[in-house]
């Protein structure tokens, strides 16, 4: 295994970077979409019902099936994976954004509105800081979930750590399997830890230092 590691150092690094890219790009695309959806869903109960059922439905499709379904439209490769994973993410992100919004007590919203300041200013200075811990928490869960699913995306030629893993599976190459799993899981754990730190900081700020434990 050490042998494999030292011989394929560059290959593994590329796979890791690729994997990170897949997750990163997916998140960058997912965030504006989920923000838009959440806005619509908060304003209209009707849209909320419809959209959350659709998102939940998508989430219930096994990832490999979803990627396969997208092949006729998007072919094989990264685009397919990113679109698929973005669709997956929506329910996680949207749920958290809506929870974050409803975590602001009504009387805070009332007293914010009573200042008469434009919504954008209220959002920036009042709503966002209070929502932030929930938002980061949502992002953390989504990132971990996406990191996992991105491994599967190797089956449709999206590259990343899954490629190493599945190569190992195909050729019964145990070191490849172990390294593939370890790196993928390690990346998820690392990202989770980073987001956790930000989440804790945001919580501390949102409560004015009232909560130090999480």
């Amino acid at each position: 295994m050490i042998n494999y590691l030292s011989n394929n150092y560059d290959k593994l690094l590329i796979a890791l970077v690729e994997h990170f890219q897949l997750v990163g790009i997916t998140l960058l695309i997912s965030i504006p979409f989920s923000t838009g959806f959440s806005y619509l869903m908060i304003t209209s109960k009707f849209i909320n019902k419809i959209a959350s059922s659709i998102m939940l439905f998508i989430y219930c499709i096994p990832s490999i099936a979803l990627f396969t379904l997208l092949i006729p439209l998007l072919g094989l490769g990264k685009t397919n994976a990113i679109v698929g994973m973005t669709a997956y993410n929506q329910i996680l992100l949207v749920r958290n954004i809506i929870t974050a919004w409803s975590s602001i007590p009504v009387y805070i919203k009332t007293s914010a509105k009573s200042t008469g300041m434009p919504n954008l200013i209220l959002f920036k200075h009042i709503y966002l800081p209070i929502m932030l811990p929930h938002l980061i928490s949502g992002l953390r869960i989504t990132t971990v979930s996406t990191t996992g699913i991105a491994t599967i995306a190797a089956l449709i030629n999206a590259g990343g750590l899954g490629k190493i893993l599945f190569e190992g599976v195909r050729t019964s190459h145990i070191p490849k399997i172990i390294i593939g799993i370890t790196l993928s899981a390690g990346l998820a754990v690392l990202l989770n830890t980073i987001f956790s730190i930000f989440e804790r900081k945001a919580l501390y700020k949102a409560t004015g230092g009232h909560t130090t434990k999480l």
Partner: protein, 317 residues
Amino acid sequence: MDEILEYRSVNFKYKNQKKMVLNDMNLGVGVGEFVTVLGDSGSGKTTLLKLANKLLLPTDGTICFKGKDINSYDVFELRKNMGYVIQEVGLFPHMNVKENISILSKINNMSKYKIEERVNELLSLAQLPNTNEFKRRHPWQLSGGQQQRVGLARALFGNPEILLMDEPFGALDVVTREKLQRRLIEIQKMYNKTILFVTHSLQEAITLGDKVIILHEGIIQQFDTPKNLVLNPRNEYVRTLFNAPTPVDKMKFFSVADFSELIYQGKPNPIVAVQRSEPMVKVLNWILKGKKVISVYDKENFIGNMYVEDLRHIGEI
């Protein structure tokens, strides 16, 4: 007297609901008046308040601020002129005392120096400590009374002409409430502010208000001075409100600081209470007719009727 806030045939009901929350409301609030709105829950008193600063929009009718329809004002201008205080205070948890008070400065580029100056001024107005340590505290580090004082200071930041107050002292203990009530009256007199003050406590309504709006099921039963409400109730609802035996059971009058020395030699700080069996209307009559005669009891022993120089109610017990 010039009317600063006027409701002209205002109706309000929530969408998809049949029941009218406010019914043909006609009302004028004069400059510098302290008007209390008394009603039980569901009477529409909060709605009345929220219509003034456009947190709710009337189903029909117009509301005028300084003679002009409120719709002709920019929302920020309108709300800046109407400080809003609520029972839950609604301080922003992530901001410290100073940031909470100066929230309005986020929009009009005030210099740091000016903000500091205004915050200091408001802190002393609200009788809060003027120290850096206090200004840096967050809402959870404040007591209920302090929070409400900060809320009041925040509402006064933009120097509004009207204060809209929705049961601001409802959640406070009796002693703190009385202190805040007293301070509020002082501030109101000092700056000639107009106050529209919602409460469900009869005592609070008549002790604070120059005029009282009695609201029941979305209809103004009577809008009058406390004196006229007691002496000339316009309908049965108002009459029963003041004749009800319950309030008097709960009501006790306490003397002001020097009262005990004035009348009560040798017995410091007696509890001055109206006779429990007296109907409230009779007691109020004495006070409102300017006679200021009340029956004084020390525990259960009748002491006698006496004149009072200054009488202030500090809440029910």
